[in-house]
């Protein structure tokens, strides 16, 4: 079996917003390669809709301090405040940088970048929603991904498209490269590097109903765990309130930003009861929980497990009037069907295509959908990966984007803060990895660098059991949705953990149909499922241990936040015997002492 070897100073795994931003910066100073299992333009950053946050104040007063506080509060005080402050103060500069790269933001009448309100983002003096989300219609992520990819082409960045990274090479405790399979040929490639940046996105495919792409399988965190390194705060996974019923496809919070409201079977705008100040624009964890309670108490539409999201102009105008919502010039906020069409063209297209519903004329049936990983690979502000609770740096290893946990999102992410996170920390990763590479040597590659990856694939190829990959996946997704979802209990999570372990055993007895080399997606889907199982297990174990409710982690049996005992980050390792070890590290608190969170 021939193995091809490449050498680059910096190797970036992932070509989404974080990976491409890192590539633009790393490639200025170091020889750089980007490896991606998808063509870069297929990355899930392209699915992001609503916007990217920055306190530009283009439409009304706003300040980075307010953005910082809102993010801290949104995180239910679990976010590290130094990192949050860093991100929010960098935000305007980064959004302008994207604009200078040509990103076609929507415009205000003055020709500036257009901004809309989003959940949890407020004017800290009035407590009212503030227009902070910079957007390009409802395809902001698409425009970010396209723009960054275009700039990479302009700057001749080297890409290995449709190469799937299977393993991280560590030598003498330092990152020394990665092992990847060239999907089109089945060949194994070793990428020898001085620095590696992990930017593989999220893992929503652990759950049954999700807004996430098929490719969201948690490859990097699973790889990290296999190397004996920890992952952080995995119990915090965000359920977005408005996924299309049954399909999970996301309906952006921008719909509520533009004035849409959630309605129950009795026709009530129920968020009034749960978040009297900002109502439908409360934080996502708050809204998703409210929806679950409404459905549990029988007020789902026709008693079913969905509610309505209503953005018909008459509804928007009715509630805008009740709320006293105004335009920047003080006139009452009123919309027409054309406004809705112009501002949310893709959402309207999704609803028409998948539901046969025209949102301008009918309300949309929605339910919470697994959306975003707040936890992930622990890093510091420089995006260096951390090995333990003492924040020991792993030399040469970096992580950015959704697969990383800096932690700026803590227990609950505010909408539009992820796209910001990608560009801010993607850039940091590119800069610091190149800087590190300039002062580092290539570590000698072990002869058997590719053996472990090879053996993993062979185990799947040679496995002769009668378990189907799809069955195991289905059972995992169902169990996780049911028991490690919006509401959790000790009993349920223990059952889920047992189930996941049973599924991991059964995984050893799978069989796949395709034993070829060319585009063997049967093999790679199975390999991805093993990652999902690892991630599901560690998520559940972390959640089970946390005996409190905070942000997205909400327990019936411990309904209150417990700062006395649990104002700390979880670090989780999987030891060689398969046991999971949990340790904790303090949250960085600078300016904002924890207080009760009301919206």
């Amino acid at each position: 079996m021939s193995i091809k070897t490449h050498q680059y100073e910096v190797v970036i795994v992932g070509a989404g917003g974080a990976g491409l931003m890192a590539a633009l910066y790393a490639s200025k100073k170091a020889s750089t390669a980007v490896i991606s299992k998808l063509y870069p333009s297929r990355s899930h950053t392209g699915a992001a809709q609503g916007g990217i946050s920055a306190a530009l104040g283009n439409i009304e007063e706003d300040r980075p301090e307010w953005h910082t506080y809102d993010t801290v509060k949104g995180s239910d005080y679990l976010g590290d405040q130094d990192a949050i402050e860093f991100m929010c103060f960098k935000a305007p500069e980064l959004v302008y940088e994207l604009e200078h790269m040509g990103l076609p933001f929507d415009r205000t009448p003055e020709g500036r970048i257009m901004q809309r309100p989003f959940g949890g983002h407020t004017n800290n003096e009035t407590g009212k929603p503030v227009r902070r989300a910079c957007h390009a219609a409802d395809r902001t992520g698409h425009m970010i991904l396209q723009t960054l990819y275009q700039q990479c082409i302009k700057n001749n960045v080297t890409f290995f498209d449709e190469f799937q990274v299977l393993d991280l090479i560590m030598v003498n405790g330092k990152a020394a490269g990665v092992v990847a399979i060239e999907i089109a040929t089945g060949d194994i490639h070793v990428f020898h590097a001085k620095a590696v940046i992990l930017a593989t996105g999220g893992w929503g495919r652990v759950w049954e109903i999700t807004s996430n792409a098929y490719a969201y399988t948690g490859d990097a965190p699973a790889m990290i765990l296999r190397k004996g390194l920890p992952v952080e705060d995995m119990e915090f996974f965000q359920f977005h309130p408005t996924g299309i019923y049954k399909l999970g496809i996301l309906i952006t919070e921008g719909v509520r930003g533009e004035g849409g409201v959630l309605i129950n079977d009795k026709g009530e705008r129920f968020m009034e009861r749960y978040a009297p100040h900002v109502k439908d624009l409360a934080s996502r964890d708050v809204v998703s929980r409210a929806m679950y309670i409404e459905m549990k108490e029988g007020r789902g539409i026709n008693g079913q497990r969905y509610l309505y999201l209503d953005v018909r102009p008459e509804t928007v105008n009715k509630y805008a009037k009740i709320d006293g919502r105004t335009n920047p010039d003080g006139t009452p906020y009123q919309v027409t069907a054309e406004d809705i069409l112009r501002k949310l063209p893709d959402i309207i297209d999704f609803c028409k295509t998948y539901l046969g519903v025209d949102p301008v004329k009918e309300p949309m049936p929605v339910q919470p959908t697994a959306h975003y990983a707040m936890g992930g690979i622990p890093t510091n502000i420089k995006t260096e990966v951390l090995a333990d609770e003492k924040n020991t740096v792993v030399p040469g290893l970096y992580a950015a984007g959704e697969n990383a946990c800096v932690s700026v999102h803590g227990a609950n992410r505010l909408g539009t803060n992820s796209l910001l996170d990608l560009v801010v920390f993607g850039k940091e990763a590119g800069i610091h990895a190149a800087e590190y590479a300039a002062g580092a040597q290539f570590e000698p590659l072990p002869d058997d660098a590719a053996d472990y990856a090879r053996s993993q694939l062979d185990a799947i190829l040679n496995s002769k059991g009668n378990e189907r990959v799809a069955d195991i996946a289905k059972e995992m997704k169902h169990e996780m949705m049911d028991k490690v979802g919006v509401f959790r209990t000790e009993e349920g999570m223990q059952e889920a953990l047992d189930k996941i372990r049973e599924l991991k055993e059964r995984f050893k007895h799978i069989h796949i149909d395709d034993h070829g080399k060319v585009f063997n997606t049967d093999l790679l889907t199975a390999w991805e499922l093993s990652n999902l199982l690892d991630v599901a297990e560690i998520t559940t174990a972390s959640a089970l241990a946390r005996k409190e409710s905070r942000g997205a982690h909400s327990r019936d049996d411990y309904p209150k936040r417990d700062d006395q005992n649990w104002l700390k980050h979880t670090l989780a390792w999987r030891r060689e015997n398969g046991e999971i070890e949990l340790r904790y590290k303090p949250v960085v608190i600078t300016k904002y002492q924890p207080k009760e969170r009301v919206y």
């Binding site: 998808l38 063509y39 333009s41 297929r42 990355s43 899930h44 392209g46 699915a47 530009l56 500069e93 302008y96 604009e99 200078h100 790269m101 040509g102 076609p104 933001f105 929507d106 415009r107 205000t108 009448p109 003055e110 020709g111 500036r112 970048i113 390009a136 219609a137 395809r139 698409h142 425009m143 396209q146 723009t147 275009q150 700039q151 082409i153 302009k154 089109a184 792409a213 098929y214 490719a215 399909l247 496809i249 893709d346 297209d349 999704f350 295509t353 998948y354 189907r468 990959v469 799809a470 796949i512 149909d513 395709d514 070829g516 080399k517 060319v518 585009f519 063997n520 997606t521 049967d522």
Partner: protein
């Protein structure tokens, strides 16, 4: 309401087959299922060797362009209820690019053509002194809105008879992406792009077959965009 549907899929495994051939699969599916869901079901429960690309599953990543009943469409945006399920549904790879395996084609030429038109923002003038955004009016922004929607799925280019005949023609997708910059008031390289597109492999190869516009899952008015580029070349004006 489950119903039985039959897909007739053009299969090709380069490691085994000399020629592509059709195979039929019957599955139970809902009218609201996407062709992608049906393909996933077949792969999961009937034949794991069936191979296709997909990622987002809702028409935004551009992975899953294929020929469904002879038309280029996204598998994840084509619901069974929009097809006649009393008959077999034919699923084939898009045309005009080398076959790799089953529904997967080699997209290299497609992306190379894209790269030929300088599909990136160019403006080397000094940035605004306050470091903020370059100004652009909502009208100027609207001028190229339609062509910013492209997801590089290739459905248009691989529906184009001119492209089938000659891969060096950059194709509708590349022109759409050039249009996105040519008509952006902030960009400064329109002249260069127009020069490229005025050349042998450029817009004048277009015979206005309209296949592209019909194929585009993002409903981009491609033929109109091509016409605007042609006009800009002829008149030398960008209005």
């Amino acid at each position: 309401m489950l119903e039985k549907v039959t897909l007739k899929i053009l299969r090709y495994n380069p490691e085994k087959d000399a020629q592509p051939h059709y195979e039929r699969y019957t599955v139970e599916a809902e009218p609201t299922d996407r062709i992608l869901d049906v393909l996933e079901k077949i792969k999961a429960y009937q034949d794991g060797t069936l191979t296709f690309r997909r990622s987002c599953a809702h028409g935004v990543c551009g992975s899953c362009a294929m020929r469904i009943n002879g038309r280029n469409r996204l598998a994840c945006k084509t619901l069974l209820k929009t097809l006649d399920t009393s008959k077999e549904i034919t699923v084939e790879p898009i045309l005009g690019l080398p076959r790799v395996k089953d529904l997967i084609v080699d997209m290299t030429t497609f992306f190379d053509n894209y790269k030929k038109v300088m599909p990136y923002f160019i403006n080397d003038e000094p940035l605004p002194e306050d470091g903020r955004e370059r100004l652009q009016s909502p009208e100027e922004r609207a001028r190229f809105d339609d062509t910013t929607k492209c997801i590089l799925c290739g459905a248009c280019t691989t529906a184009c008879p001119t492209f089938w005949a000659d891969n060096s023609y950059v194709g509708p997708s590349a022109i759409v992406n050039a249009h996105r910059f040519i008509f952006d008031s902030r960009d400064r390289a329109a002249a260069e792009r127009l020069k490229i597109l005025a050349g042998d492999s450029g817009v004048f190869r277009c015979r206005t077959a309209f296949n592209c516009t019909e194929a585009c899952p993002r409903e981009i008015k491609i033929t109109k965009a091509i016409a605007e580029v042609k006009r800009a070349i002829i008149t030398g004006r960008l209005d």
